[in-house]
Every structure is written in C-alpha cells, then in structure tokens.
Point group: C2
Chain length 146, copies 2
DNA sequence: GTAAATTAAATCGTACGCAATTGAAATTGG
DNA sequence: CCAATTTCAATTGCGTACGATTTAATTTAC
C-alpha cells in the first residue's frame, strides 16, 4: 500500500461516506413532505417491521445508543409518530409504539419512497451485489471493533 | 418492488450508512492519538495532495459547505494543523495551508492508518470493486440531486 | 435477604452536516 | 462606470452521532 492508495479518490471509507450522505439527501427529499429525517424514517421502518419495541432493541437494529435515540424519539413523539411508555414488567425499559398515524402512514410513505427510488434506475443485480458486499464489510468492521 | 424490499436489511442506503459509520469509527481509532476526527483527517488528505487551497476548493472535494468547513477549519487551526489567511488576489477567499506540523505528520499518520487498515484483510480485488461501484453510485445520486 | 454487579435510559459535552440567510468583495452588463 | 448580479465565507438553527457519565431498576451471588 503506497501513497497513491491514500488519495481521497482511492479511499473506500471516503466513498462510503460520500455515497451515504448523498443517499440520505436523496431520501430526505421524499421524506420532507412528512417532516421526517432519515434516522427518524429508519425508526419507522423498524417499527413497521415490529411494533412495540423497547428503546434498546431499536438501538440494536440501527446501531444507535440511548444518547442518540432518546432525543430523536422525543421529537418523533412530539410530532405524533410514536408513543413512549415504561414497560410494566421492567421499569427501566421504554416501550416505543406507533401511533395510529404512524401505523397508517406506512402505505403512503412507502409509495413516496418507491416513486423516488425508481428514478435511480440502478440495476437490480448491482443493487443486490452491493448490498451483499456491504453486509460482508459491515461484518468485518463490526468484528474488528469488538 | 414490494414491502419485503423495504426492510432495514434490504435497504442499500441503510447498509451504506451503517458501513460508513463503522468505517469512520475504525479510522477514528487510528486518529485518536493525534486528536483528529475523520472529517479533519479528510481535510489533511486533501491538503497533502495539494497544499494552499481556498476553502471552497476543499469544499468541492469533500462536498462540504462553508457552514461545515468554517468551524472545522477553525478547530484545526487552533490545534496547529493548518493556517487560514485571506487571499491577496481575492479578499473573499480564505486560503488554507498546512503548518510545518501538518506537513511533516503525513508520514507518521499514514503509517498509523496503514497498520490499522492492513488488519481489515479485505481482498484487494473486492476493495477495488466496491470502490468502482461506489463511484458509479455517487455519480448516479449526484446527477439526480442536480 | 441484601450488597454488588448488571442493565437500561437519560444526560452532558463536543463535533459534525446541512438548509437557509447574511454580508462583504469581486464581476458583469448596459 | 456603476448598479445589478454573482461569488465567497461566515453565521444561525436544528438534528444527529457518539464518548463518557449518571441515575434508577433489576439480577446475581453469597
């Protein structure tokens, strides 16, 4: 590995960082009508897959700690997407649940996203290939960071 | 595109976001001894490729606006990595230049990064493949966002 | 049964990212 | 030449990210 591998253009980390930020900007366009940020949309995605999860379970899926999630979820509660209530069985756990609005918006928001993503016109095989490679990379990095 | 394509696990954007954050965390470990953050390291990379650039040129390469760069560069100036001076030819432009420390640290910091990256043990062909695919994706997204 | 350890959310502080605006300097067009 | 436009960096405000600590509730171990 020589110095020419250390240019901005040759850094995989930098290209991931660039692609991620552009991708998020792209999604934000579709989410703007709903007043949602991308991380907030991720919370909705997780809850649409499984409602009524404790905060730490959302954190496990999204790799967010309570330092990130607590204020984010409070904002989502204020905007009427979710409710936050202590679990009866364990008063340390905060159960996050979709509101009626949060549940029923799924169809409309998905359609907005789909319209938006369809314009990207990425080859489905490329998409799946990159997804698989990213998952492999994520596994490698997670192992190295303990 | 059906609802099963909308799970967290099937979102390319989310996997980019996850990989990017893990990658940055990985780099931060190597950068911690120098008190550098990853975005600050990117500025150094750009300046090591070409010193004495105006703020907006760094912004073009890293896709940062002055709203991000101005405070970031002030922190780097305080820590002695760079200097900030108005261009004589154009008093609107702020020329960013490496300090002696900034210039000479290159060798040592590169070595730290290389030691760290070598442990990843990613196949070089995979690395190049992902880099190329990311660049293609970045181009697509940039075009769609104007 | 209770002190020690663990788990969970919240809090604190710092540093991005980025949309939007501001204000100053340079360029342009009539 | 000079008013209008454009180009810059800086500022403002908000929402993440995340290391580190705190506080409260539950488990564990003896």
């Amino acid at each position: 590995m020589n110095d020419s591998d250390m240019t901005l253009a040759n850094q995989l980390c930098f290209s991931m960082y660039r692609a991620s930020r552009l991708f998020i900007k792209f999604y934000q366009q579709a989410l703007q009508p709903y007043g949602l940020t991308y991380p907030q949309y991720l919370v909705l995605l997780a809850l649409w897959e499984e409602d009524r999860q404790p905060l730490h379970a959302l954190g496990d899926q999204l790799d967010f700690g309570s330092n990130t999630l607590t204020p984010l979820l409070k904002r989502m509660e204020r905007k009427g997407w979710i409710t936050r209530e202590l679990a009866n069985s364990d008063h340390r756990q905060l159960i996050i649940q979709l509101t009626e609005t949060g549940r029923t918006s799924k169809t409309e928001i998905f359609e907005s996203i789909r319209v938006c993503v369809r314009q990207q016109a990425i080859d489905p095989a490329d998409y799946r290939g990159m997804l698989a490679q990213n998952h492999a990379l994520i596994d490698t990095l997670e192992k190295m960071l303990n």
